[in-house]
């Protein structure tokens, strides 16, 4: 019995360990459009455009947030602690700023957004025909022998909620966002992943800067327009 429990635990750990987390970090931090180094610890960041986010995710992350790919490069002799609370995305020239949201929260937001989407389908139809035999003509109130008739109509249907609206979808979105997100915890080797900031703006020419804390020191990265 004890052996079975251990086997199940080991299998579970192996499964969790095998699941990829984050993205593959680039060779060095300088390969990212925005990068900095503080006491041997490097950080690189890239703000994803809406198109890039659409390609990188099945979930409609553009509906609720901005996505920043962040890579951290710890010193070779010292592991570092990675926490999402160390990051703040700020809109330059305004007081707008936000801390990252968890994958669970983003997934729930996206599910709610999807539930509000519905398709309205319009089905126009028309018919032209010929009728023979005696029949009542509603226009004249008399009897007619036959003739051509026409008919038109329009059907309107309201579809079911949009894609990704079920609870299973929410779980899948959470899985995707979590697996592609920046892994938190101790890091002795370079790590990278996506971080989701709940800022949504339709303006195109808006600049952002990323504040992060490296070794207790604040570092600000100006993110170039994607």
């Amino acid at each position: 019995m004890t052996r079975t429990i251990w086997l199940v635990l080991i299998a579970g750990c192996l499964t969790a360990w095998a699941t990829p987390k984050g993205t593959v970090p680039r060779a060095v931090a300088t390969r990212y459009p925005a990068h900095a180094e503080q006491d041997g610890v490097g950080v690189g960041a890239k703000l994803l455009s809406r198109d890039e986010a659409r390609k990188a995710f099945v979930s409609d992350v553009n509906d609720c947030c901005l996505v920043v790919e962040i890579a951290l490069y710890p010193r070779k002799d010292k592991a570092m602690d990675v926490s999402l609370n160390d990051f703040i995305l700020r809109q330059i020239g305004s007081e707008t700023a936000a801390k990252p949201s968890s994958a669970k929260l983003i997934a729930a937001t996206l599910q709610k957004s999807s539930r509000g989407k519905r398709d309205i389908s319009v089905y126009p139809s028309t018919e032209i025909g010929y009728g023979s035999g005696p029949a009542y003509d509603p226009n004249t109130g008399t009897q007619r022998a036959g003739g051509v008739y026409t008919r038109t109509g329009v059907g309107v249907g309201i579809g079911s909620p949009g894609a990704g609206a079920t609870d299973k979808d929410r779980s899948t979105m959470e899985t995707e966002l979590s697996e592609k997100g920046l892994p938190e915890g101790g890091a002795a080797a370079p790590v990278a992943g996506y971080v989701y900031f709940p800022i949504h703006s339709t303006k195109k020419k808006v600049s952002y800067e990323l504040s992060c804390v490296l070794n207790g020191n604040k570092v600000v990265l100006a993110l170039p327009q994607p």
Partner: protein, 212 residues
């Protein structure tokens, strides 16, 4: 009393046309993502002082509750012929071959109409999509490559051009003889379409061919 009716119908269904008011649903994980128009209007941002987790709930409440997309579901064009013999009765069900009468027995019996009595409303392609499933469109090179989902054999790619899977995360692997195995983690959402293009490169002599 006798009544006879013969109708001929021609249905021309045009799907996929329309204009979008809100976000469309199709998404691709690859570069073939479908068009997506964004309609969210409220900036969901927070001041530095408010930047914490609970602000997200405020953001949710500012989201519009419903967004609708208007689309042309189809266009039906028909031609009919009816014949009537018997006494004239102006209010009969089947005795009115003239004028507008959208629920006529002749019409609805032979001519498909989306709003006809007895016909449930199904958008175009409804039966092909599958309830609460998402589509995975797979293109591989070579075309007869073997496809594995979560380690299990699913079939050959040429027979699995379009797979409808339940919402979830899957480990997709495509393998063929003398080719490197293509592996991809995919996420399927209901009602969404995911296009995967797997071009298997030739394996090098030192490569060990493994099945997933």
């Amino acid at each position: 009393m006798k009544a006879a009716a013969i109708g001929l119908g021609l249905v021309l269904t045009l799907t996929g046309y329309g204009w979008t008011q809100a976000t469309s649903s199709d998404t691709s994980q690859t570069a073939t993502a479908s068009a997506q128009a964004d309609s969210s209007t409220d900036p969901q941002a927070h001041t530095v002082q408010e930047a914490n987790a609970d602000t997200n709930s405020k953001k949710d409440s500012s989201q519009p509750e419903h967004r609708y997309r208007l689309r042309l579901g189809g266009l039906a064009v028909g031609a009919g012929y009816s014949y009537f013999s018997g006494p004239v009765f102006p209010y009969g069900y089947g005795y009115w071959p003239y004028g507008f009468y959208p629920y006529g027995g002749v019409f609805s019996s032979v001519f498909w109409e989306p709003f006809g009595a007895g016909f449930p409303f199904y958008p175009a392609g409804y039966f092909q999509r599958g309830e609460e499933k998402g589509e995975v469109r797979l293109t591989t090179d070579p075309k007869d490559a073997s496809v594995y989902l979560n380690g299990g054999y699913a079939g050959t790619a040429d027979h699995l051009k379009s797979m409808w899977l339940e919402s979830g995360a899957y480990d997709l692997a495509v393998s063929a003889a003398d080719r490197r195995t293509y592996e991809q983690r995919i996420y399927v959402l209901s009602g969404k379409s995911l296009k995967i293009t797997a071009k298997l490169e030739a394996s090098l002599p030192g490569d060990k061919q493994e099945k997933p």
